[in-house]
């Protein structure tokens, strides 16, 4: 397996796949400095993304939304979309 193949296959490892080509890529990376570093870099990317915090909506946003909603009418259901309304009626 070439480094290029290993680095491509390694992404499936990050997706949670465990196919033969993923296992081969893992074995390759264990003994190849470049590919080992590549895996570590990708782990850092994942760690960075997961460390991003989840926010609470700022105060006032909900009121703003509800005020805006009061100004607009709801569109009628499209025929054949199977929305709850059409089904109940």
């Amino acid at each position: 397996m070439t480094c290029e193949e290993a680095q491509r296959s390694m992404h499936y490892h990050f997706d949670g796949d465990d196919h033969l080509h993923v296992r081969k890529a893992r074995a390759h990376a264990a003994s190849c400095t470049d590919c080992g570093r590549h895996v570590m870099d990708l782990e850092m990317v994942e760690q960075g993304l997961r460390s991003l915090q989840k926010f609470a909506a700022p105060p006032g946003l909900r009121d703003r939304i509800l005020e805006a909603v009061r100004e607009v009418p709801q569109k009628r259901p499209l025929r054949g979309t199977g929305g709850l309304m059409t089904r109940e009626q």
């Binding site: 994942e46 993304l49 991003l52 926010f55 909506a57 509800l66 009418p73 199977g82 709850l84």
Partner: protein
């Protein structure tokens, strides 16, 4: 993930504002986080969330219950954010400098500079997170979308495929390229 009961949804579809308030309450945090990660700016993220809920409200009677409600919600929110990114790009490309020999990623990097973050935006994040946020903001929207849905909203590959109406193999390819691009962008980021 399904946090609003069918009965609430039904009442909201008849224009019941209390029911719609319950829907807003259930998803506002999640959608604000999504929008902030797309737009890197609190004011714009709030506008995007408002626009999303406005579309949800007006289209609610057209919601097709064969899809999960959150799938539909994410589809609308994602479209709103991407539209805003595109408009931003269109505006900034008017006075963009012509650079030669740059790859598309760098292209985005140059032209898609987000508006200056407000002091409150800066306060919201630690230094490392800022770096990641900046890199995220520099990704082409196609990759940015799947990365945000996967890592920020923690959707499964199947759910992302439903939201975007593309096959799982496509979702995977985009995530792979997005991860790879982020790795490059973070390697390039100045160490502060």
């Amino acid at each position: 993930m399904e946090r609003v009961e069918q009965g609430v949804l039904f009442r909201a579809q008849t224009g019941d504002l209390d029911a719609f308030t319950a829907i807003v309450q259930a998803y506002e945090d999640q959608l604000y986080t999504l929008a902030f990660r797309f737009l890197s700016n609190s004011a714009e993220a709030q506008d995007a969330v408002q626009e999303t809920f406005l579309r949800v409200y007006t289209q609610l009677r057209r919601y097709d219950e064969r899809f999960k409600f959150t799938t539909w919600l994410y589809r609308i929110a994602t479209n709103v954010c991407i539209d805003r990114l595109r408009k931003r790009k269109a505006v900034s490309s008017l006075d963009a400098e012509v650079t030669d020999g740059v790859e598309s990623l760098q292209d985005w990097h140059e032209r898609l500079a987000s508006p200056d973050p407000s002091p409150e935006d800066l306060l919201m994040q630690s230094e490392t997170c800022n770096e990641v946020q900046r890199a995220l903001g520099d990704l082409p929207p196609l990759y940015q979308t799947v990365i945000i849905l996967r890592y920020i909203q923690e959707l499964s590959l199947q759910e992302i495929s439903d939201v975007l109406h593309v096959p799982i193999t496509t979702v995977k390819t985009r995530i792979h390229r997005g991860r790879e691009a982020l790795k490059e962008l973070l390697a390039r980021a100045p160490v502060s």
